[in-house]
Structures are given as C-alpha cells and as structure tokens.
C-alpha cells in the first residue's frame, strides 16, 4: 500500500513538472516586450558613429561592422586610462568580439593587460568590477606567468584572488548586508560586473555566483521599486539624481527589466543589456505588483569604519511603506555612509521625475572623512571636495548626520535633530518640489501638500523660513548644489524650508486618495493631530498620535516606542516583508509572490523555485 502510494506520488510529481516550469502568459508577454526593449536599447549603440566602448561592444555583439569595431578598439587600447572603469568596457568589448575580431585586436588587448595595471580603487563597487574583470580575463589566458600581467601575478594567482574575494563579498552581503546598498546610481556598478560574470565565466561556480548575485541585486531593487523610482533611503546618490530620478541608472534598469516608465538610455547600462540576463518571473512580479500596500524592512551595513568607531560594520536599519501611489522609506539616521547618504524620502507617482519630498541636516566633518578614508585627516577635505563638490556646502541636499535620527511607522515618519553647537551647519532643511499641486501652510502648523493622488503633511517642530531654488544648468552641478538666484532663464525647481534651531524635528504623514479620500478630508484630519514635543539640548523628544491612531513616542537619539511598546531595531532581519525574507547570517534569500517561491541559497550556491 505504502509502495503504491509512493509510486502514485512520484507519477503525479513527474506529470506536474512541465506545468510547473511553464512560463505564465504574463511572463511570456513580458519577455516578448523585454526583447523589444533590448533591441531598441542596443540599436542606439550598434550604429553609433562616436568612438566609444559601447559602440564597439554593440557592434561585436550584433556582428555588425566588425572592421569599424576592430579599428576603433585598437585605437582606444593605445592609451589605456582609468581603473575599473577602463576594465569593464574593455572586457565587454573583448568578450563580445571574441571569434569575430582580427588577430591584431586580440594582440592589442593582450598587450594592454600585460602593460597596463589599473588601480583596484577603494570602494565595494570598485572591487566588484575590478575582481570580476581580472577573473574573466585570466580565464581567457589561463596559463600565463606573472610577467605577462601588469600586476606581476600569474593567471592562476589572479583567478584565485578574484574568486576568493567575490565569494567573500557574497558571503558578507548575504550575512550582514550590502555596504553600498540601495543606490539608484551605483546599482549600475554592480549590474555590469555581475551580469558579465554570469554570462562569460567558465568556472561554473563563478558563473552561478554571478547569476545569483544579479538576481539578488535586482530583487533588492524590485521590492523597493515604484513606477521607475527606487524608494529611499540610499547609501549613495548624486544630488542631481536625487531630484530628477531619470538620471539615475536604476530608472534605466526599471525601464529595460521591469518594463516601467520612460525609455531612457546610458552607455554603460548597455553592457548588462548585451548579456543574456533575463529577470526571473518572480522578480518581475515583485517589481510591478502594487495592488496591495506593504511594509518592508531591511538590514544593511555601514561601509568599513577604519577609525573613530567601535564596530567595523555597524548595522543599518531601513523601513519602507509602499503603495501604488507612493513610497516612504527611511534609514534610522546617523552617519551610515560617507558623503552621499540619503536618509529618508517620500516618492510618488505624480510629477515625475521631480517627485520627492525629504529633509536633512547638511553636516560634514573631518571626523566623518577620517572614519572611512585612510589619508591624513587634516588635509583630506580638499581631496574629498575635488570629486564630491557639494560635500562641505551648507546648502547641499545629500549626506548623513550624527545629529539626525528617524522613526517610521507605516506612512508616518518622525525626524529629530539634536545638533551640537559649533558643528558644521546650524540648520536643517526640507525639500519641496516646485511642481506640487498644492503646498498649503496651515495655521495649525502643518504644511499640507498635494501631489496628484498623494497627500503629504509636514509638521515642523520649530519655526523656519522658505526660499526658492532654481534648476541648474547641467554643468553647474559640478560646482554648486543649488541656486537661489534666477538669471531670468531658469526654471523654479524647489522650495527650501530652513530652520535654524539646533534642537529640531518634524513629523511627516503621507496618505493617498485611496487611503483617506479627498485632499480636504486629509487636511481636516491632519490639523487636529498636533505633535507634543520637547526641544531642549539633550532632551529632544516628541509624542504623536498618527492619523491611524497609533501612538509614536520618540526621544533622540534612539528611544522609539509604538503604542507604548519599545521598538527594537536590532531584531531587524536582512529582509522582511511580503515579498523578500532573509535572516541575518543565513546566506539565503527567499522570494515569495502569491504561490510562487524562489530561493537563492548562497551556502549551497543553488537557486530553487516552485514555479
């Protein structure tokens, strides 16, 4: 009886395999459209006359005009310049051109790798690109001695070091979280090497690792995606891209891989697009289904702290609330990443790509630089501001602060500031885009904004002043953060709410039309909810009853209570929500969408799914 039952069970399972592995009609349609988008994207480059690695790689990949590609590639290889940003375009061109390019080009590529030693850089994305490229090229010439490589190490030594590092990076990322996490800009610098690895690695373990990490990065984006936007906070973002999300790489990935939003292009995004990487169906579902609102939590890690700290990689706690109309997300505050941190923001589907409201304390210090960079601290400010020009600008719009903390519960956020006297910037700023439908400064103290079907209320806990800022010409972003002077041709970009009190804060409430009805209804309810705050040095706290009648109590820096119960952030898993779940230390990410399930098991280097 047992044996017959077992045979029947086996038969049913075997029969179910073709059905389980069949692609859904929705996904088949998605793939058809995805290939159309890919074809459009590539077509922007495979006939491009401008000499660029993208134009070369596209021609090789599409087997078009190989003579032009050969000639241009040889020319560009004559003067290698740059570090990993030289390596990955060259590797892409070589991989796509192999078997098509002339022996002279092959020789020129080999010569470049023998004589030119690109720097390894010093960030997580640098190393991901650098080691991936070193590994792949060392597979192409697998048995060369050190004298044939510019860094003096043999092909075997290169592969060993690169493999060790990339596996270790994957282990850390899936154990305590990524360091350069959730970056709308730097997602590109991960997608490029990881898709390369997945496509071209000959070592099956490395190929699998590339495939799994690509899925991991895309799943991490998908779950915080709303209508081509990445819901913040972010570890790193350039200021211009914060205000206009179309200029971030994540928006281009959202278009190509999620099929959402405007068609955008970027020469480096071409490289992942040229590979065979396809978004798994479940990640597509997670990225695009916003039929139900959800809370999503994450744990990431601080970049390596090398001095002035107690812990090498302290945890970062992130909280998101995402609906079909808006997403509000926050990091808990403090210095979590140097220079380009974005701590919290509300993004919505109205007024794109200028669709964000956020606040911050514009802080900078030699202490912060010293925490993360090894150079002599007192002379390092010039070095930082040479490339990150807004870092020490009191009007800047990116950066973390040790004097800032947040507490978010669903669609309500409280930010508190207890700023030391004498520190850089004695003010906090709020960013309100100029294209809001309404921005009402109500007698109750609330600033009440309407952005289509999304309503945002902002209650300042201290008085402030408003000023106007205008859209900068593109090149001006390299030197300035904002302009309050209109030369007559400039477009109003945003209103800045600045408050000079050192003990400070605000409460932000966000609701959609679906959640609360009309804007007037939102306004009328909001003005009866007035926060109670204490604002003295060393005692900055607030008690607030949300529109959903939850009681939030928050005392700077880290006392958070919800309905009388202490909120313990330290229990935050790597991922927790309806779509993604992962425990700290597990090296395993479980994706869930309705009845579909997919697991990335980095311990076993295995992908499993039930659909």
């Amino acid at each position: 009886m047992t044996r017959k039952f077992f045979q029947l069970f086996l038969l049913l399972n075997l029969l179910s395999v073709p059905f389980a592995q069949a692609q859904s009609k929705t996904y088949q349609h998605y793939l058809k459209k995805f290939h159309e988008r890919k074809a459009w994207f590539i077509s922007n480059y495979d006939t491009l006359s401008r000499e660029s690695y993208s134009a070369i790689a596209a021609r090789y990949a599409m087997n078009k005009d190989i003579k032009w590609a050969d000639k241009t590639f040889i020319k560009m290889l004559q003067h290698p310049k740059g570090a990993m940003f030289w390596m990955f375009p060259v590797v892409n061109c070589y991989m796509h051109g192999k078997g098509k390019m002339s022996p002279e080009v092959e020789k020129a590529v080999r010569h470049a790798w023998k004589t030119y030693a690109p720097s390894r850089g010093d960030t997580e994305n640098h190393w991901a690109m650098w080691y991936t490229c070193l590994f792949l090229m060392s597979e192409q010439w697998p048995d060369l001695p050190g004298s044939e490589w510019a860094r003096g190490t043999s092909s075997e030594e290169n592969r060993k070091e690169a493999k060790e590092y990339l596996f270790d990076w994957a282990r850390i990322t899936t154990t305590i979280g990524q360091g350069e996490f959730d970056s709308p800009d730097y997602i590109l610098e991960y997608m490029v090497p990881l898709t390369l690895l997945a496509q071209f690695a000959q070592d099956p373990q490395m190929k699998k690792l590339g495939e799994m990490l690509t899925d991991y990065i895309m799943a991490d984006f998908a779950v915080e995606h709303l209508d081509q936007q990445y819901i913040g906070g972010y570890s790193r973002i350039y200021e211009r891209n914060l205000m206009n999300f179309h200029t971030s790489a994540s928006s281009i990935f959202a278009y190509v891989y999620f099929g959402v939003g405007e068609a955008l292009k970027h020469g480096w995004v071409l490289f992942p697009v040229l590979t065979d990487y396809k978004l798994p169906e479940i990640i597509y579902d997670i990225a695009t289904d916003r039929s139900k609102s959800y809370i999503h939590r994450e744990r990431k890690r601080v970049r390596n702290v090398i001095r002035y700290g107690e812990e090498r990689n302290p945890p970062v706690y992130k909280y998101d609330y995402i609906t079909k109309d808006y997403g509000i997300g926050s990091l808990m505050g403090g210095i979590l990443q140097p220079i380009q941190q974005h701590t919290w923001g509300v993004r919505y589907t109205y007024g794109k790509p200028y669709s964000i409201i956020f606040g911050m304390h514009p802080y900078w210090s030699l202490h912060e630089i010293g925490m993360f960079f090894p150079e002599e601290v007192k002379t390092s400010m010039a070095a930082i501001t040479a490339s990150k020009t807004t870092y020490n600008n009191p009007d800047k719009w990116t950066g973390g602060s040790p004097f800032e903390r947040t507490f978010q519960h669903k669609n309500t956020l409280i930010a508190l500031y207890d700023i030391d006297l004498g520190t850089t910037s004695n003010h906090i700023d709020g960013f309100f885009p100029a294209n809001l439908e309404k921005r009402i400064i109500d007698d109750s103290g609330w600033i009440i904004c309407k952005a289509g079907d999304t309503y945002v209320g902002w209650y300042p806990l201290q008085p402030g002043q408003w000023s106007k800022e205008y859209e900068l010409k593109k090149q001006a972003y390299n030197t300035k953060t904002s302009s309050s002077v209109n030369d007559g041709t400039m477009k109003l970009r945003n209103y800045r709410l600045r408050s000079y009190n050192l003990q400070n804060g605000y409460v932000v409430e966000v609701r959609s039309k679906d959640e609360i009805g009309s804007f007037d209804n939102f306004k009328n309810k909001l003005i009866t909810h007035i926060p109670k705050a204490a604002m003295t040095p060393g005692n900055v706290s607030v008690k607030y009853k949300t529109l959903d009648k939850d009681i939030m109590e928050f005392a700077f820096p880290n006392t958070r209570k919800l309905n009388g119960k202490t909120v313990d952030l330290t229990k935050t898993p790597l991922f927790e929500g309806p779509f993604l779940n992962a425990e700290v230390g597990s090296q395993m990410l479980t994706m869930t969408y309705k009845k579909k399930k997919m697991v990335l098991d980095f311990k076993k280097l295995q992908i499993s799914k039930n659909y």
Binding site: E161, E376, A383
Partner: protein
Amino acid sequence: MRLTVKLLRFVLFFLCFPLTLLFAQESIVYVAPLSTGFYHTGMVIPLSALFYKAVDADTAWRYKGRPNNRISGMAFHAPSKGKYMALATHTGVHQSFDYGKTWKVTSGWQITEVNHVAYDPINPDIIYCSSPYGFYKTVDAGKSWTKHNKGLQSINAQFVSSFIIDHSNPHVLYCSTEDVAYKSTDMGESWQKMGLRIRHIRTIVQHPKDAKVLAVGTEDNGIYFSRDGGKTWGKRDTGIFASTFYTIAFDPSNPDVIYAGGFQTGVYKSTDGGKKWKQYFKGLPILDIHAIAIDPQNSNRLYAGTMGKGVYRSDDGGQTWAFAGVKNGLISAIKIESF
C-alpha cells in the same frame, strides 16, 4: 709611544683612504608619492609612482614603478643592497626581487590601504606591513600573510599608521596607531600598550644610536619622547606652535639634531635632542610636510616631502629650501640609500 701611535694612525689613514674611495657609494634619494598632480581620495593619478634620483642631479628623477598606486611607504632590504624592495600601496604590498626592474603584487585582497612596510633586517623573506585593518607579517616573501592583531583590540588600535623594528634587537617592534603606541617583543606576533596615553599617533621613530630613545608625532598633541624604551614619555614642545606631526627624523651623524614636520608646520629643527625647537619654512610653498630625510653623507643636506607641492631640498640644515622635483607630488615617504 705617542709618536708611535701617531705614526700608526697616519699609516692606517693612508692605507684606508683609497679603500674608502673605492667603496664610497653615491646616495640615492627614493621618493614615494601618494599622488602627483591634483589629488582625489579614491582616485588614482596615473603618474603616481615611485621615483628615485641621484642626490646631485637636481631634478632628474628616474621612474622606478609602480603606476596607478597610491604609495604610502617603501622598504629596502639593506644586506642585499636593494635587490629586494617593497612598496606599501593602497592595493597591497608590491615587491621587486631584481632591484626594482620588475614588480609583483605579493599580498592578496585581504591586505589593502597599506600604510607602512619593512623588511626584517636579516631575512628578506620576513616582511611586515600595516594598514587601517591591523598588522601583517609574511615569512615566505609574501606568498602568504598572517594578520597579527593580538593586543590591538579596538578599531583605532588596528589602524597602524607606522612601525619600526628596533635596530638593537629585531625581535622588538614598535608601532603607532590611532589608539596609542604599542610594543611587540615577539616579532610582531602580539602587542602591548606602551606608557604613552596620548591617542592618534601618526609616526614613531627610534634614535639611531640609543635604542631606548623613541619619539612619536601625534595628530593633536605634538611630539613626545621616551628615553626608556617606551615606558615613560614626556612632551617636548618648547618653540613648537603646531600640534600635528607626520614625520620625525634624527640626523644619523649627530642624533641631537632632530627634524619634524606635519600639518601646517614647515620644518621644525632641534639641535639639543628635542628640548627646544625652531621653525623653518623659507622657500617652502606650503607648510604641510609628510616626510623628511637627511643625507647620511652630508648632515646639512636634507629633503622634505610636501603634501601637494613635491620634494624640496635644503643644503643648510633646513634653514632654506628649494624645489627638488616631483612637481605637485603629495609625498608620503622619502628614503636615502647608497644603492
């Protein structure tokens, strides 16, 4: 008797003088720039490399390698006359086994942002290096490295900015950290705090003759000296109007003469073993100094590495300075060797 001694000395002098001439080696100045030209953290300027020159050739610097690296320090294995060289770079330890003709990265991905490197004075297979992540040692010329942070417990203690090997006992090492200064008596295997309670130590040096005399330059507290091997320390700052010191150099032929430089310091000089100091900056375009080296064959000639304006030379014991090369270089280290 006196006449006999005089005669003997006279004979010895004339016997030895030609030998001295025969073996006299020209001093070579080696310079390690963190960068040349405009300098970005995280960005490497292609010209960044190791340079060297003959002392008397004004600005005719000769390139030795290693491009695309921020070089923080360098080491030569003296008994082999520079056959073995090592560089401390942001991409690890690079070594040459052929007098600097070819180079190889001899540390893996675990070792990065290296601050300092040194050979064991006898065995070139034993190399030490330090980084913001701690202290490392190899006993097989870089084939494998082990981290030795025993005793360096905190994040600040693991940021080892520099270290020295005791010239009287190679089993003893001293290191400066972002915490305090530490001592090892087992060739860097483990570390113990020394008596100095000042934090954020940027450099540590040893008297060339009296091994018990040590000096440290600090981030915010000037210069401290110990005369008992690190047990007790005292601040020596008469005449000093600065707080941050990255480099201290004893004159090898007269160790009572000491030079020091740092942030906004110019070059400070003491002629009484550090009791009193005098500041010099005539001819220097900036006051930020990261390296000082004294010509062992000519005490009046010394070199200063500035933080962004290259190398400057003084031929009058530091009183006046003139540009000597590596334009716009942010010079992290200078060494003068006779090979």
